[in-house]
Structure formats: C-alpha cells, structure tokens
C-alpha cells in the first residue's frame, strides 16, 4: 500500500511529500518528492543588486538564516576580493554559532515532538528563546536577521552582548545536562532511536550526505576545521563524530555540537578585538566566479556566484545540504517500521526553505 506522507503532514515540517510503500507496517519502498515550496530564489537573485540579495538569502532557511546570509556575503567577498575587518569576523562567528545552537534546538524540538515527547518541544523552544533574544538585540530581528553585509556586519554589537552571550552559554551547558535526563535517560527514547535508520559510512559519503548525519556515520569532516573560512582556525573546538550512523548517533552528534558551539562563542567573545566592523564594499563585482563553502547546521552549504561586471550577479547557484541529504532517504528508510519514518526523517533536520529554494 502506498502512503503519501505529505505534502501536508505533521512529519514533514514544511511542504514536501514522502511516498512510502508499506507491507503491514514495514516500509518496502520510499520515494521523496520536493518542489512544493520552490520560490525561484536563484532567478530572483539575478534581478537584484548585491545588497538587496542579503534579505533574500536570509529567507532560504527559517531555522538558520544567519548562516545563509553569511554564506552569501562570504561568496561575494570572494568574488570581489574584499577583506573583512577582524572584529566583523569575530562578531560573525559568535552570531553563527548562536544561530547553530538555536537551529539545533529547533531541530531537537521538532524531533521530540515527532517522537511524541511534547515536553521536549516546549523545553527546547524555551531555551532557544534565550539565544533568539540575544540575536534580536544584536541584529534587530528575530528570525530573518539581515545582519552580515558585504565587507563586515551591519552594525556594532550592543554593549551588553558579551555578558549576555557568556551567560547564555553557561545556561545552555546546564540545560544540555538536563536534556540528557529527558532524552538519553528515557528508556522509550532509546528504544525509538538506537539501531534505527542505519546509514553506513560508504553510503553516506557516496550519497552526498553532509553535516551531522555524515559525522554520525563516522566521517570526521567539518568545514570549520578542514576548510576553515572565517576566524575558525583560531578557535579551539572538537568535531563531534559517532560511529553507528543511526538516529541516536545523529542526536548525539548534534548535542555535542551544541556544547562545542558554546565553547566557540566563549572564545569569540573573549578574543573579539576592537576596531572597525564594516568597510565600504564595492558596488560592482568583477567578471569571474566566487565560491563560498560553510558548515551549515544542516550540512555543507555552498554558493557559487558568477559576476559579470555589473552590480547584479549573473548566476547564483545555491547548494542546499538537505536537498542532497533527502535524496538518500530511501537508503535509510527501507526495512524499518512506519513509525520510524518520523524518527529517521526528523533526524535529518529537514528545512524545506533551503531544499526547494
């Protein structure tokens, strides 16, 4: 029996369709379909000037919009050859890591709600609010920040930023231990997660799975250390990996990543130098290509911009991590139960905004 899970379904967290063929409750075939939220962002970008694209790139992902606008600015800076002031880089790193924690918390919330643990949803959303508040004070907005600019950031940090960030980090580390009670300490949670949705290392590499699902399959690859892009080489942190490749490893990798992000925020706030936070960026891009590659909370985000000498890009190509990861879904799904669909697909952290673009 083919079952359409989607486009409107509690499991999808957005607007996509997963067709599964079930035999009783066991999945024998699966076929994801995306494209319900295609907004043509790549085409829209060709019609706008470079500063005007920053708000659009924010809208790529509602969960981690800071990463995407940062990625766009990074790519355009690579295209134009702009050097960013050092203070701006530190501010960006602190902001991105906060965004990573907020995004992972939102994932954990949705994941808990998928597994039927509403209390996990509420607690994680409550703690996400702490970081959202700091980002709001930093950027002026709650979800779509529009904060990074070509050649720096929009404005300087507020005077209370460092204190708030350090406080939020210690708060978060305390909360992470409490989540261990709620998730790892729960027999039912372990029953639902361990040995579910196995993805072998070779499959993960071949199918283009990136980010936490890749690291959960025992590949130690993180663009922040392996192809450092901002001031990440000066930060001291570990890359989380887990050898099993099941849902529990994905959960575990993200939990460790949150703790590591707290470490990075601490260092970024303490090492932040004084000085300019923005320089005047050129209006026109030269003829050529720019490439940006960042570690999104969901995987490897990548942008490829072709400039043609005017103030508008000639072509913008966005690589969304989830678009590739979701194509590997049948590999993970087949052979498990219908109820495992929510655990497996929830563990991938779907974000349809960036998938369909």
């Amino acid at each position: 029996m083919w079952i359409n899970m989607g486009p409107q379904h509690p499991m999808t967290h957005g607007l996509w369709n997963l067709r599964v063929k079930v035999d009783g409750e066991t999945i024998v075939d699966a076929e994801p379909e995306v494209g319900y939220l295609h907004r043509g962002i790549e085409k829209l970008c060709e019609d706008r000037t470079y500063p005007q694209i920053i708000p659009i790139s924010d809208r790529l992902c509602y969960g981690s919009s800071m990463t995407w606008s940062h990625l766009f600015c990074l790519t355009v800076e690579d295209l134009m050859g702009v050097e960013v002031p050092e203070r701006a880089e530190y501010i960006r790193v602190a902001a991105i890591e906060m965004q990573r924690i907020a995004s992972h918390l939102m994932w954990l919330a949705a994941y808990a709600a998928d597994l039927g643990l509403m209390i996990g949803f509420i607690y994680t959303m409550r703690d996400r609010e702490v970081f959202i508040d700091i980002l709001q004070a930093l950027t002026g907005s709650r979800i779509t920040y529009n904060y990074p600019r070509i050649g720096g950031v929009a404005h300087d940090v507020p005077p209370t930023f460092g204190r708030d960030a350090l406080r939020a980090c210690s708060y978060m580390e305390k909360r992470l231990r409490e989540y261990e009670d709620l998730f790892d300490g729960s027999k039912v949670f372990m029953m639902r997660n361990v040995d579910v949705g196995k993805l072998r290392k070779e499959d993960a590499m071949n199918l283009g799975v990136t980010g936490p699902p890749l690291r959960a399959s025992d590949v130690r690859y993180d663009l922040r250390t392996d192809m450092p892009y901002s001031v990440y080489p000066e930060m001291d942190f570990d890359v989380a990996t887990h050898p099993d490749g099941d849902c529990y490893s994905r959960y575990r990798v993200r939990m460790i990543e949150m703790a590591e992000s707290c470490r990075i925020i601490r260092q970024a706030v303490q090492k932040m130098p004084k000085g300019k936070w923005r320089i005047r960026a050129p209006r026109n891009a030269p003829v050529g290509t720019g490439l940006g590659r960042v570690e999104d909370p969901r995987g490897e985000g990548m942008m490829y911009i072709v400039g043609d000498g005017t103030d508008r890009p000639y072509r913008v190509k966005i690589r969304s991590p989830i678009f590739v990861t979701v194509s590997a879904a049948p590999k993970m799904l087949i052979g498990y139960k219908l109820a495992d669909v929510v655990a497996i697909m929830g563990g991938l952290d779907m974000c349809i905004g960036e998938t369909d673009r």
Partner: protein, 167 residues
C-alpha cells in the same frame, strides 16, 4: 550494544582514521594530466586547497571515476549549470574528505546539443542535483536513471534559469 557505541560512550568523541595517504594539490594535477592529457586543461589554484580544471565532456565520467577511486574524491558537493552566450558550463565541485581538497571541474557543452554524461553512477548524490540542473537549465544528462523535473511541475514547459526565459 555495538562495540563502537561502547567506545564512544567511554571516550565521548573519537577521530576517524584516514584511508589513503595525503594527496597534495600538485599530485592531483599530475595524476589527471597523466591519465587524461588530451581532455584536461587550464589548471588553476584558486586558494589553499581549491583547484580548478577544465575537462572535455566525453572524458567526464571516466575522469570522475578515476578521481573517486584513485585520488580519494569521495564527495560530490555541487553541480551547477551556467549559461553563457554560446555555451553552457556545467561545474562540478568535488571534495575529498581525507585530503581536504576541493576540485572545480568545468565542462562545456554547446547550446544546440546541451547534454553531458551523468555521473550519478559514480556518486549517488549527483542524482538529484542533475535532475535539478535539467529542470532549471535544461541540460540533458545521458544515462541518468530518472531524468525528470524535480522542483517544478511535471508538465512545465520552460527551463526558467535560462536567460531567454521571461516571467
């Protein structure tokens, strides 16, 4: 409980071992030139760890298989199609996990016959990206298992990222 999880619970985080030896940029260049001397050209080092090369489209799949099997490029990051006045460019960004390299392979295809061989047999992750390139730019990929529209409706007529598409 598997052995691996026991180890992780004990140690927290552990490091993955590297499979093959370190391959620096110039060795990639030399190996490619040795094997595909007629097809590969225009090597360029963009920055630390990022290479660019041009390749003729008839040797593409062979070269990709060689890259994956012999040089350790096991991850296809992105396939992007760019339209120019007289040609399409299909750009493959291929990453190596062990060697921390990124290779930008550029293939040209004329506008009248916009077709490239599919690399989805080499990297499974290329499957949907090639479908997307077909959907939005109209480049055909030979030997693709299922070349259908993916983001746009099945009965859509145009390829909207082409420059002659208006509204």
């Amino acid at each position: 409980m598997t052995e691996g999880r026991q180890r992780v619970l004990r140690e927290g985080i552990e490091k993955a071992p590297s499979r093959i030896d370190e391959v620096p940029e110039d060795r990639v260049v030399r190996a490619l030139l040795d094997h595909f001397s007629s097809a590969v050209s225009d090597f360029q080092k963009l920055r630390q760890g990022v290479l660019r090369a041009k390749i003729e489209r008839y040797e593409l799949v062979k070269a990709c298989r060689f890259l994956r099997d012999s040089l350790g490029f096991e991850h296809l990051s992105m396939i992007s199609a760019v339209e120019y006045d007289n040609r399409f460019e299909v750009v493959y960004h291929i990453a190596s996990y062990q060697n921390k390299l990124l290779l930008e392979l550029i293939t040209h295809t004329p506008k009248e016959d916009s077709a490239v061989d599919s690399v989805s047999s080499v990297w499974g992750g290329a499957n949907w990206q090639e479908r997307e390139a077909y959907d939005l730019m109209g480049i055909r990929f030979n030997n693709h298992p299922k070349l259908e529209r993916i983001l746009l409706p099945k009965d859509y007529l145009y390829h909207p990222l082409r420059k002659d598409f208006k509204g």
